[in-house]
Amino acid sequence: MIYRENGQFKTSYAADQQIFPIRQDRIAILALLIFAGVGVPLFADEYLFRAILIPFLILSLAALGVNLLVGYCGQITLGAGAFMAVGAYAAYNFLIRVDGMPMLIAVLLGGVVAALVGIVFGVPSLRVRGLYLAVATLAAQFFWDWAFLRIRWFTNYSSSGSVSVAELDFFGWRIETPVEKYLLCLGLLILFALVAKNLTRGAIGRQWMAIRDMDVAAEVIGIRPMYAKLSAFAVSSFYLGVAGALWGFVHLGSWEPAAFSIDRSFQLLFMVIIGGLGSIMGSFFGAAFIVVLPIFLNQFLPWLGGLVGVTISTAAVSHAEFMIFGALIIFFLIVEPHGLARLWSTGKEKLRLWPFPH
């Protein structure tokens, strides 16, 4: 009954093109943002920040990037982890090789380098599509895995092969505590999500979706497939590069190439498939599902065991975690193949009519 848009009349196209055209949505999102920015730092403990919130924010950003490419432009990729790695190592090299390079600028430059690399590895998409393109992007993954392991210059000739960033400096503000790291990631994520929304609701977003849905017709109305596809690769890789740099700098602190292995690429692809292809909101749902659920199961199973008087060993918990997690993925894909975002919007549609559905 509360979720109604009755009486909210739009008198201009500008009002109709808002990101959240329904007033209740605007209020809810504002409340959520205030809660995330003010409420969470007040009560959350260090474990929550380190294990859940920061990884969730950074992987949401990465999932957003994958969704722009896979969900909006329809170009499937298995090289997401590689672009994260490129962003992380490029940012690292900018930071150590350029004197007085601010951390944030290094992170953004990491994104730019990843975007350029993304364009190069996006070229096969002009010729091949679908599974064949997936294989072509897999080449990016293997190439960069190899490059960061073997080309010592990238890791500044460190003997162990792992690199680390000692301190994070945000224009004079030292970022040390988990709260500060969390706020940095949150701020960047909000900014990038807004940009993603702007792109997808504008002309370039329509070009991407047109290429995804029917490329012949897109060409006939004057859309250039090369520009549309390569710009999608560039923007997507930029997001992934920034996310990769944050993952290295903020979340891990020190890392080796295995942090961005093919597992990461698959994880990101699962996120957008489960969350909802072609939906900004879906990227967040997917990231939350994949980051939070295993941890939740990890805590919940022993508790459940305690309830019925069985002690479950740690090994058994982690096995069960995998099985339940896999089963849940399959369950969600059967119930709603369009992902959690579709489930969410169906729920909202129902709510608008509730309690009089006819």
């Binding site: 196209y13 093109q17 995804r212 029917m214 060409e219 006939v220 072609g278």
Partner: protein, 260 residues
């Protein structure tokens, strides 16, 4: 009707097209005059759709030339055709199914949109102004086609007849000078056909758009077109005003068969 048929705007000369050993079009020539409604008819497999695909550059003919407003081309490309103001609709619907009606028609204005990637990322400023200006244009088309009630519905959920209208809307959004319609009335009931006829005549009359259309419904073709070209097995067998074509013995033979 206020329109006046003008000079030749599109001239197709000796077009031949084959796929491997199969000749789809052989040595076909005809012209299209400004502001007219030009119909292409013929039995199944006569090469009508191939002809449209040659005009807007999806297929590239092995021989012949296309003269568009005095410019000679050996073949078109989709991009060049779009820039030259040629729009088309598709026989078996090629809409962007995951996008809303509004987005589909807005996509048709893609060529007129100038804001670059960075301006679009910021949204406020040039990108938004442009978006709103084009939205106003698109709403005119939505009003014209009487599809206001479905503007926010994803195209994939619409019934066939309405999808056909959205397809027409997307082509109109390009503000084309030449509009190619590939069987705009296929699979429609009588009412939908009447609506579609009205739209086609209105487009031609109000905007002065030149229309090239393929249609199977002879009643419709004879009623609305100014000149008709008849294809059969990739050859041109008739060309002229509807009445002439109807009386042409070759055309009658192609449609009805012969008794020898």
């Amino acid at each position: 009707m206020g329109r006046q048929i003008g000079e030749v705007i599109l001239d197709l000369k000796n077009i031949s097209l084959s796929f491997g050993g199969v000749k789809a079009l052989s040595d076909i020539s005809f012209d299209v005059r400004e502001h007219e409604i030009r119909a292409i008819i013929g039995p199944n497999g006569a090469g009508k759709s191939s002809m449209l695909n040659v005009i807007n550059g999806v297929y590239r003919p092995q021989q012949g030339e296309i003269v568009l407003r005095g410019e000679h081309f050996a073949n078109m490309t989709p991009a060049r055709a779009a820039r030259a103001g040629i729009a088309r609709t598709f026989q078996n619907l090629a809409l962007f199914k995951g996008m809303t009606v509004l987005d589909n028609i807005m996509a048709g204005r893609n060529l007129q949109m100038r804001a670059n990637l960075f301006q679009q990322a910021i949204w406020f400023g040039p990108a938004r102004r442009e978006e709103l200006a084009h939205r106003a244009k698109v709403e005119e088309i939505i009003d014209f086609l009487e599809i206001q009630h479905i503007r926010k519905v994803p195209v994939g959920r619409l019934p066939y007849g309405l999808q056909k209208r959205v397809d027409l809307g997307r082509a109109l959004a390009m503000e084309p000078q030449i509009l190619l319609l590939d069987e705009p009335m296929a699979g429609m009931n009588v009412e939908e056909k009447q609506d579609m006829c009205r739209f086609i005549l209105d487009i031609n009359d109000q905007f002065g758009t030149t229309i090239v259309l393929i249609e199977h419904d002879m009643g419709v073709v004879m009623d609305i077109s100014d000149r008709v070209v008849v294809l059969d097995y990739g050859r041109k067998i008739g060309d002229g005003a509807p009445d002439e074509v109807r009386a042409n013995p070759d055309v009658i033979r192609a449609y009805l068969g012969t008794s020898n």
